[in-house]
């Protein structure tokens, strides 16, 4: 219980630090270019890390353990490029993944 409360407090603080950071430091002076460029590029790198490391989460190098998550990622990507609507991509892709898992997992 206490662990959960402290963890939530830490995550709230970490999240709010990202949102308040520009306002706390740069309400009067202009932010330097290297900081703007860096903070623009970091989200791309982080998202890639998150995708790569959230796949092997249940990828155990057995055949179904590999092709099912990879098919799920492919399904989400194709749906997103086709319909450009996050909800269709997220729920369509998750639905396809859950169906594959049910029949082949």
């Amino acid at each position: 219980m206490l662990r959960i409360i402290i963890a939530i407090a830490v995550m709230t603080l970490a999240t709010q630090l990202t949102r308040f950071f520009p306002f706390l430091l740069f309400s009067r002076r202009k932010p330097p270019q290297w900081l703007l460029t860096g903070s623009r590029l970091i989200p791309g790198a982080v998202m890639m890390v998150l995708v790569v490391s959230s796949i092997p989460h249940n990828l155990n190098f057995t055949l179904p353990g590999t092709w099912i998550p990879l098919s799920g990622v492919a399904a989400v990507s194709i749906l997103h490029l086709l319909f450009k609507h996050p909800l269709i991509s997220i729920f369509g892709g998750t639905g396809i993944y859950m169906t594959l898992l049910h029949f082949f997992g």
Partner: protein
């Protein structure tokens, strides 16, 4: 009554976020309960952390008993994209007073998208309009999570594979980043770092160290030509 007008306009403008937040919030609440948490943690986290991807990550970070420093740094870098939003609304929020802190607190991906694309009605106070948008969005997200967590408690079905929704959310955000940045550097870093860490046996640390290493790497990347010219 320009306040009423501002609220009605905000209600209309936030309709797409309503559907998004209610359904993704629902999946979040459901998953949270199925991962062993009590239902009330869903609304508590939605009112305090108020960051979609971070709240999904919170479920596994807490369940895996990660240290608080690791949790904090991982969530900070996961949400680093919100800094970009902050930089781009610095001027818009500068004259605001009463609701400014709450507006910054609630600057999620979707709130940012709405605030930067929808104009407040002509005779309405822009600060109050932005406040309505932000507060409505947070209420949709909280209610979605609450419904999901209560239904998850009531239903015995475990929805095997529903946790893939988080991977799906990351894939969508990744595709959007690829479209925005239009350069390969950050994505190569983000791919190589965790893969190499896995290859060398750092399975437990791959996510956390991967995020840190690739983020630091981003500061070392060369500036693209267009930006170098503007600087």
């Amino acid at each position: 009554m320009s306040r009423k007008k501002a609220f009605t306009a905000a209600l209309k403008a936030s309709a797409p976020v309503f559907f998004g937040y209610i359904s993704i919030g629902f999946a979040y609440g459901f998953l949270l309960v199925k991962s062993g948490f009590q239902w009330y943690w869903a609304p508590i986290m939605s009112l305090t952390i108020f960051a979609g991807a971070a709240q999904f990550m919170a479920i596994s970070l807490i369940n895996q008993n990660k240290g608080f420093i690791e949790i904090g740094l991982a969530i900070f870098l996961l949400n680093a994209r919100h800094m970009v939003y902050g930089f781009s609304v610095l001027e818009r929020y500068a004259p605001f007073k009463k609701f400014k802190k709450y507006l910054i607190f609630g600057l999620t991906d979707e709130t940012y998208a709405l605030i930067t694309t929808v104009e407040p009605p002509e005779d309405a106070d822009p600060e109050f309009f932005d406040f309505c948008i932000t507060a409505l969005n947070q209420s949709y997200w909280t209610v979605g999570g609450l419904i999901g967590s209560l239904l998850g408690t009531a239903i015995a079905w475990n929805a095997p594979g529903l946790d893939f929704a988080l991977t799906a959310l990351f894939v969508v955000l990744l595709i959007e980043q690829i479209k925005t940045l239009k350069r390969p550097g950050p994505f190569i870093l983000g791919f190589a770092a965790p893969v190499l860490l896995y290859a060398f046996g750092f399975t437990e640390e791959a996510l956390f160290l991967g995020i840190v290493i690739s983020s630091v790497g981003c500061f070392l990347l060369k500036k693209p030509k267009a930006e170098a010219a503007n600087a």
